[in-house]
Subunit: 315 residues, 2 copies
């Protein structure tokens, strides 16, 4: 086994039950229940000096975002926690955990706590359990040629926030908040689910996640970089040229929703999202073939060498 | 927050939904679903040179054992895996994972894989999802004064196997197997569940787990050390005196079932277990009060200073 790609391929071979969706989705579907498990590792997915309450928020939010992408409503979580010999950190983490669970109305139902040797990077796992109408859980694999492609939310804020958190640059608090306290689009996901052909949350970067949706659906996607929704704070911070837009499109931690739709209208979808005050933007279309095509007002944009964060290798 | 006990107490405060059972049970109950999440950490719950396929077996088995204690039948698991830069280890782990899932008929439904810096101890998490008749999931908290106390399975084999695995002593393969490839008593648990007042799996040591059952039920338990079921291999290895029995009763990793019953007979329960060729032993009785009392043919046995493995502190 040569490395991580082989490992995941071998896992897929084991995960041959339909509920696993070939491990090509963000969650498993078991009747009307949707289950997801994401881990975050200190030094990989969060910084050693990130506030512990924000780490708790993020651990829950990234898992709830997977449920949002499946149109599921969260019910409960199970926490896997490593005690690393810093009670003040643990106490602050729990305060954040309590906050985020209360904010999204989710129960802590169980889990496990293990003491690890001092100096071990914290490895935190969360299983989130949600409910969705059986048979109405959008997959990554449902897009067809001709479908419209949309993003709900904005792209790139958290990536800029990470650079601010690392102390590389100064910038607006809104961007730092987007990195530290992402808000899963649960109500939007649930409202959109019956109207989409495919949906997923954008967690590793718009371009890499779009390429995954294209691959799972067996189609190609054409994305208009000029239409990728950037927030006013990000435009103020990074500018609005091709470079800035490409940086946003490969940054991770957005927790926006990417979806495809057909047999409906953009106006109708805008109406569905309107009560939630979430920006909805048509960014492209699906076609036959494979892979991504990127364009802007000046024509075709070459794909960057790195489309986002590869699963588990960095971030 | 002074330490781990405070951390768990604070978690309980957050976990105030009935499905969490006050975090005083081995699993969460959500309608007819039973969910559990256990982690195992390299150097804490398994040895660095344990065969990776056995580590996979154990990760699955310890979680399925929690389901067995609730009378639930396993459906699926979600895996949280850390890639620590050793593809040969990962490949052997996956072979073991495939074996154990096939052996118990459980689907791999999803999860997460994260690369961690080289040298980081592996932290492996598993969420197991099982099904049990709604309303018939025995808790730790159901025992009453006068109940009979039973163990299904044998006690102490894995603890002796751990000493063999560590190279401290030589001993029978059966004990090493009990440590490396524990077998969750799923069919026995399911058959017993309708007939018990309280049930849990024995994972951290018979005495500590019995004290937890007593605490959750608000009763005391009297255990006859002479009746604690030791396997022929363990008796051959350790002997059968009070010291040997005490060592067995505080060793972990048994994955036997501890339960209480009333309104039925020992003969009837023996008949229920008989098809599964699992030893069933009445080891004591419940009374009012709190805590454990231990006796043997010579009278009262002072409780050892350490009743088993404290949650997450060692093992």
């Amino acid at each position: 086994m040569a490395g991580e790609a082989d490992f995941i391929a071998a896992l897929r071979h084991i995960a041959n039950d339909p509920m696993a969706r070939g491990l090509a989705d963000d969650a498993a579907v078991l009747g009307d229940l949707v289950l997801t498990h994401d881990m975050i590792v200190e030094g990989v997915h969060f910084l050693r000096d990130d506030p512990p309450a924000d780490v708790a928020w993020k651990l829950v939010a990234v898992n709830l975002s997977d449920l949002a992408g499946k149109g599921a409503w969260p019910i409960a979580v199970l926490l896997g926690y490593t005690l690393a010999g810093d009670p003040a950190w643990d106490e602050a983490f729990l305060a954040g955990l309590s906050d985020v669970l209360a904010r999204f109305g989710v129960a802590l139902a169980g889990g496990d706590t293990v003491a690890v040797p001092a100096g071990t990077p914290r490895t935190l796992g969360l299983t989130a359990i949600g409910r969705a109408p059986a048979g109405h859980t959008p997959a990554r694999a449902g897009a067809s040629p001709g479908d419209m492609v949309f993003v709900a939310g904005t792209i790139g804020d958290a990536g800029a926030g990470l650079a601010i958190a690392r102390g590389h640059v100064h910038g607006p608090t809104a961007l730092l908040d987007a990195y530290r306290r992402p808000v899963p689009l649960l109500d939007v996901g649930r409202a959109l689910a019956p109207h989409v052909t495919a949906m997923m949350d954008v967690s590793d970067g718009l371009l890499i996640d779009a390429s995954r949706l294209a691959e799972a659906s067996g189609i190609s996607l054409e994305i208009d970089l000029d239409r990728v929704p950037l927030s006013p704070a990000l435009i103020e911070h990074l500018g609005d040229d091709r470079d800035a837009r490409l940086r946003a499109a490969v940054a991770g931690d957005d927790y926006a929703l990417l979806f495809t739709a057909s047999g409906t209208s953009e106006v109708r979808l805008l109406g569905i999202c309107e009560p939630f005050r979430v920006r909805l933007t048509r960014i492209g279309s699906a076609a036959s073939g494979a892979g991504l095509t990127l364009c802007d007002r000046d024509g075709t944009v070459p794909l960057p060498g790195r489309l986002g964060y590869e699963h588990g290798t960095d971030g």
